[in-house]
């Protein structure tokens, strides 16, 4: 049980001849909530895409639960991905399906559960993210920004993943909604024992949620550790970020 959930070693990513990551190392342990911070264009979202396996590393390796996604076979790959839930920045709900079917989609893909089971699970997830049952009939285009995030989170949680990846979970939400979304995430993380990796710019989200922080700069992890450690070490980016918001 001691293998890190995510283990990245010597990762190099080149897009269009430009190096985004230059020999990046990062290990994320079980139960951590890691906030991935860094300036715009520092490759945070790209790193998240590497972890999901949407991009292949130019060099180095990304291991999920101790296995290399790009070396694994088709079946193993699918099983690994079923242990990961992703909340995309814009929600990425399937626009042609109502919310209910969006959340039911990964469950139906298993082809092992009957409709009654799926319905109960979907309603459970809706309740988990504090949406009403009747919201399930709405189309994604009819939802407000906050509801899109919640519905997308419900879908990400549908398979009870061990690892949850969040790309800017609170971007586009007003402070009040953002705070309630953060507390919801924290509560779910405690209940489900998730490991969470999130990309964020928002100090409040970081303060409210993260146990650990990794600062991305120059294609490497410039600093990593618990929030207090990184603050104590006085990383330049972090000071800047913290200075803009409230002091840590």
């Amino acid at each position: 049980m001691n293998t890190p959930v995510v283990e990245i070693s010597g990762l190099r990513t080149a897009i269009g001849g430009r190096d985004i990551h230059r020999g990046l190392d990062l290990a994320i342990g079980r139960g951590q909530i890691l906030g991935l911070v860094g300036g715009s264009g520092s490759g945070k979202t790209t790193l998240l895409r590497q972890i999901i396996g949407l991009m292949a590393p130019t060099a180095g390796s990304v291991r999920l639960f101790g296995e290399d996604l790009h070396r694994a076979g088709r079946v193993a790959q699918r099983e690994l991905r079923q242990r990961v839930g992703v909340l995309f920045q814009g929600g990425a709900l399937f626009s042609a399906l109502p919310v209910f079917d969006n959340i039911a989609f990964p469950l139906r893909e298993l082809r092992a559960l009957d409709e009654d089971w799926i319905r109960r699970l979907v309603e459970l997830k809706l309740a988990m993210v504090e949406l009403e049952v009747h919201h399930g009939t709405l189309m994604p285009a009819e939802l407000s920004g906050g509801m899109v995030k919640r519905a997308a989170l419900a879908r990400a949680l549908a398979l009870e993943p061990e690892l949850l990846l969040l790309d800017e979970p609170t971007a586009g939400l007003d402070p009040k909604r953002s705070a309630s979304f953060v507390s919801l995430l924290g509560q779910l993380q405690r209940e489900l024992g998730l490991t969470v990796v999130m990309v964020t710019h928002d100090v409040e989200t970081l303060k409210g949620l993260a146990t650990h922080v990794a600062v991305l700069a120059d294609g490497r992890i410039a600093a990593t550790g618990t929030v207090d450690e990184v603050v104590a070490a006085g990383n330049a980016y972090f000071d800047n970020l913290a200075g803009n918001g409230e002091a840590f």
């Binding site: 626009s95 298993l110 089971w117 309740a127 285009a141 209940e191 024992g193």
Partner: protein, 368 residues
């Protein structure tokens, strides 16, 4: 990794152990469900204290096994009890779906209303275009030249190779097949009349219209549709830029202008193909072919062909814009409307062609 979920009956109690999670359940789903089916289990005390992890999928499974009631005796850790309690709090029956019975009158009326709705929408698009044109008459500086020329280039210039290829091949085929027939009745000469009139008056415009509907019509619908999905249309309006003036009008004017030119081009190519095939097949000299073409085909045919091109271009762009504006913000609607746009415009083009044929039956056909 997960420990496999296990169910045992020990000393008169049901003992669960291992991880009861969806991932752990999947490989042993049938066995577990079989062992849970046993009705006698319901009356026994349940011991869940050896369970490693319990997720909501497994909790739903257990709750259904218990038939929606707590077992008389249950040993479970507080965390896992909370998971079960959450399942227990859910309503067990699905919310009653609204009864959707359709009467025959409704079944007949819906499509009729749908067609009327489309007609209304199309008239609205045309009306808006006319209003825009009137506005542009008074404010000529606002004419979107850049967009109009871009559309002429996109629909016209980039369509030259494919229309040339298709036109040429159709010309070759038509000429080759007719030559065989005509020779058998000794009417070789008539190949020029046949090709000239059929291509210039009929085949050229219709062929190009079908190609353009598939090529440019679908692209227009998809583009406007995606602009609606991504709220770009709203962004334009918010900037005070009229969407009809900047997005719709240039498409309609551009395609209406480009179509006659494409028709002319495709007709020339088809005649070239026909000429080539006649030369190979019937030993018809090119000079003679051109000479006879002038006498056999009155100029009125060319005007009718170009007129059709103009009308078809207008219809295709008009239909494309109409369906583009009806796209709702989801992928399904986008694909459905793109399909409808192409099918409708091709159908309308052929309908219009028939009307043209009736209206111009006295014109440009040499009377024998």
């Amino acid at each position: 990794m997960n420990a496999a979920p296990r169910l045992q009956v020990e000393s008169g109690a049901v003992v669960l152990s291992g991880d009861w999670t969806l991932a752990a359940l999947l490989p042993v789903m049938t066995t577990v469900r079989m062992s849970l089916k046993d009705g006698n289990l319901l009356r026994l005390p349940w011991d869940l204290s050896a369970v490693g992890r319990l997720d909501s999928a497994a909790a739903v499974l257990l709750w259904r096994t218990w038939q929606g009631r707590w077992p008389a005796q249950l040993k479970v850790s507080p965390t896992q009890r909370r998971v079960l309690e959450r399942v227990a709090a859910m309503p067990s029956a699905p919310p009653a779906a609204a009864a959707g019975r359709v009467t025959p009158v409704e079944r007949l009326g819906r499509p009729v209303l749908g067609v009327l709705d489309h007609l209304y929408g199309m008239v609205a698009v045309l009306g808006q275009i006319l209003i825009d044109l009137a506005h542009l008459m008074r404010h000529p500086s606002e004419i979107p030249w850049k967009e109009i020329t871009a559309n002429i280039y996109k629909a016209g210039a980039t369509g030259l190779p494919v229309t040339a290829l298709v036109g040429f091949l159709i010309g070759v085929t038509l000429s080759y097949l007719s030559a065989l027939q005509l020779r058998s009745v000794g009417a070789d000469l008539l190949i020029v009349d046949l090709l000239g009139i059929s291509i210039i008056r009929e085949l050229g415009p219709v062929l190009v219209a079908v190609l353009v509907a598939g090529r440019s019509g679908s692209a227009m619908t998809a583009q406007i549709g995606v602009m609606r999905v991504t709220e770009e249309i709203d962004a334009l309006t918010a900037m005070g830029v009229s969407r009809s003036l900047r997005v719709i009008l240039p498409k309609i004017l551009g395609l209406t202008a480009a179509m006659p030119l494409l028709v002319l081009w495709a007709s020339v190519m088809a005649l070239l193909g026909g000429m080539l095939a006649a030369w190979v097949q019937l030993d018809f000299s090119v000079v003679y072919f051109i000479e006879r073409l002038q006498r056999a085909v009155p100029v009125a045919n060319l005007l009718i062909g170009l007129g059709k091109g103009l009308a078809f271009g207008l219809v295709i762009a008009w239909v494309a814009c109409h369906f583009g504006l009806r796209v709702r913000p989801n992928t399904e609607s986008l694909s459905a409307n793109t399909t409808r746009s192409v099918v409708t415009s091709i159908t309308l083009v052929i309908l219009l062609d028939a009307l043209f044929a009736i209206a111009t039956k006295e014109i440009g056909v040499p009377q024998l």
